[in-house]
């Protein structure tokens, strides 16, 4: 039997334990961590999971464009039904443009773009990407028909049907992308899987109402102004709820690139909503400026959430920490504490 001396033989390098303990300082900008960051171990500080190789421009951009298109189709249908023809036409065109660009971004991000048709090989409810592909396959043509009929004035009945179909599918197009992100092992996305759909719905509504403010005439923009205010409030509430849920992982939403983007998003969304609620009813210029701010705010939200996910995947602390915490809570729950953290 090789005794302990066999292990002691190469004793140089002692103390340089790769399974070393790390302590992460976690206080920035005076924000208190809700749960103190526990010590954790890792393999040379290497990430446990692999971050997606998705490009931010394509995939976060798709989240934004999908939201703009989806919520925009609902606004278009509303404007269509309530006799706001200029806004209706503009929103239909914006949805077609957004969904076309979104599809192009998705195909561009594939490792094998020529194999894009494989996306429609099967329909898998366990794969949000498969569900999303079919959803886009149904929504895209509907949005396209609605836009073409609206722009040309031909086939009004077909146009109305397509507008209704795009309106029915639009909200799902806008929110399923949250499931797409959350259905991964990425701590900042999966950890907020309950809140992310609401954040994406609010952000999509902000983008679409921003587009309506920017593209529609002042006399038609009443609903968009209400929608902008509602969306901004919902956006703030959902983002707060996500942060609360994520606990220590919420750090990834507050720091680095994600932190900057999300702070910018909040400022732009609030400014846009304030402008929409006040001046946009009178001034065309104020409406356009508010609309652009809302659109930019929504884009920053999506790019910020995307960046937070990547940051949380690249640091093993965010994978190991919550899992250790869960094991500790389960062990505690065994002793009758009961309040074990669930995933």
């Amino acid at each position: 039997m090789n005794g302990p001396e066999a292990y002691g033989r190469n004793g140089h390098g002692s103390g340089s334990g790769s399974g070393g303990r790390h302590r992460r300082g976690g206080r920035r900008r005076g924000e208190e961590l809700m749960v103190p960051r526990a010590e954790f171990q890792s393999y040379y500080g290497k990430p446990v999971i692999k971050a997606p190789s998705w490009s931010a421009r394509d995939i976060a951009g798709y989240f934004f464009l999908g939201g703009l298109a989806g919520a925009g189709s609902v606004l278009a249908a509303g404007a269509h039904a309530t006799g706001r023809p200029v806004t209706a036409r503009a929103m239909k065109l914006s949805s077609l443009g957004a969904v076309s660009l979104a599809t192009a971004a998705l195909i561009n991000d594939l490792g094998r773009p020529s194999r894009f048709p494989h996306m429609l090989r099967v329909l898998k409810p366990t794969s949000p990407m498969s569900v999303g592909s079919w959803l886009l396959a149904a929504y895209g043509p509907a949005a396209g028909a609605a836009a073409l009929c609206g722009a040309t004035g031909r086939l009004p009945r077909t146009g109305a049907a397509a507008t209704a179909a795009a309106c029915a599918l639009g909200p799902v197009v806008a929110t399923y992308t949250a499931v797409l992100a959350a259905d991964t092992a990425v701590p900042a996305w999966h950890g907020a899987h309950r809140e992310l759909p609401y954040l994406f719905a609010a952000s999509a509504t902000a983008a679409a109402s921003g587009m309506a403010l920017a593209a529609g005439p002042v006399r038609e923009n009443g609903p968009a102004r209400y929608a902008a205010a509602l969306a901004a409030a919902a956006d703030l509430a959902a983002a707060k709820a996500a942060e609360r849920r994520l606990g220590p992982v919420a750090e990834t939403l507050r720091t680095g690139r994600a932190g900057g983007l999300l702070r910018t998003a909040r400022a732009l969304t609030l400014a846009g909503a304030a402008g929409a609620a006040t001046l946009s009813g009178r001034s065309r210029a104020a409406a356009a400026a508010s609309g652009v701010a809302l659109l930019a705010g929504s884009a920053c939200t999506r790019f910020g959430v995307f960046a937070a996910g990547i940051a949380s995947a690249e640091d093993p602390a965010y994978t190991v920490g919550p899992q250790r915490e869960r094991l500790r809570a389960e062990a505690g729950a065994g002793a009758g504490a009961g309040a074990g953290a669930e995933a």
């Binding site: 790769s18 002042v218 209400y226 509602l230």
Partner: protein
């Protein structure tokens, strides 16, 4: 949802297909009368870090070279599993005493300098440096997130209960990469498609064991029917505990864990995260029903909010 040949068409809730114990993954994937599920038991207590498994895997599967760099991480210049690295030997250097007895019936070769008092003892108090080595591999999860989220059906469950990528189907969407709770599968940059361990599907079909297990000189990598491996692993961990190696523990063996148990599981001598493994992995699709529910509610809220926005100005008679 697609198990026409499932041997038990009883009233098991659908959620059982997403997480929890699953006695017959191959059967539930639609394979009629599948052979016994196979896997790996990697006993890291006898791993000597020779990397024969890495080499055998690369050679048999014709995996391309993916970087020749010195990492500074002990003897580990491979660094991690990836698209072109399907076995990865981790080297962990620790200053702790931990004598590990050999399994029964194994001949011990005398070590050079043994008993000469030359053994360094930097830790003091009988302690010293301990070198943990562990050959990591795809876990072939019972509930495999990579397979669940794959939108093309490229990833599939084989009749042996393993998880394999069909390279002629994969379109490189990369969804499987962040879905894996172990960070195993990856897209090959030069190719775009995702690759990972197939548990040598081609060799299994010919009645051969996987190349890594075949090449392992210490039987640290054991291949066989999963039930048998689990029994063998339980005996081994008991043997180590009796011999005073209290820190020996199994990892990924439990069908009750977050991924329904791994097809490739391990005997470790420290916490999983020390080896770069997640301490409590959960298949992300376990929560998918909740996610769809919230997405549906959020979609309704979106539609409702916009409907309200149209109703409010109308009521006031403004614009």
């Amino acid at each position: 949802m697609t198990h026409a040949h499932a041997p038990y068409d009883d009233d098991r809730p659908l959620s059982r297909l997403l997480s929890g114990p699953e006695p017959d993954p191959a059967g539930d994937a639609g394979h009629p009368e599948p052979p016994p599920r196979v896997g790996f038991f990697t006993d890291t207590s006898v791993c000597i870090g020779c990397k024969a498994c890495e080499v055998a895997c690369k050679e048999w599967n014709a995996l391309p070279e993916d970087g020749l760099k010195l990492s500074g991480m002990s003897y580990d210049n491979t660094q991690e599993l990836g698209a072109s690295t399907w076995r990865h030997v981790a080297f962990v250097e620790q200053t702790r005493p931990a004598p590990v007895p050999a399994p029964d019936g194994r001949t011990e070769l005398p070590l050079a300098g043994d008993g000469g008092g030359s053994g360094a003892d930097p830790g003091g108090e009988g302690g010293g440096m301990r070198w943990l080595m562990s050959s990591d591999v795809c876990k072939h999860c019972t509930h495999a997130a990579c397979l669940d989220v794959c939108p093309t059906g490229s990833l599939f469950r084989t009749e042996f209960g393993t998880v394999v990528v069909q390279e002629d189907i994969c379109n490189g969407c990369g969804y499987c990469v962040p879905a894996c709770p172990y960070g195993v599968i990856e897209q090959r940059p030069s190719d775009g498609r995702a690759f990972k361990c197939t548990l040598c599907y081609d060799r299994l079909g010919a009645g051969q064991e996987p190349a890594c297990a075949k090449a392992c000189p210490t039987e640290s990598i054991q291949f066989g029917p999963l039930d048998e491996l689990r029994e063998r692993a339980a005996l081994r961990v008991d043997q180590l505990h009796e011999a005073g190696v209290g820190e020996a523990r199994l990892y990924g063996h439990d069908p009750e864990d977050g991924v329904g148990g791994d097809g490739a599981f391990f005997l470790l001598l420290d916490e999983p995260e020390v080896y770069g493994l997640p301490p409590d992995p959960v298949v992300t699709t376990r929560d998918l029903p909740a996610m769809w529910k919230h997405a549906g509610a959020a979609a309704l809220a979106l539609a409702g909010g916009l409907a309200l926005s149209f109703a409010l100005p109308g009521r006031r008679g403004s614009r």
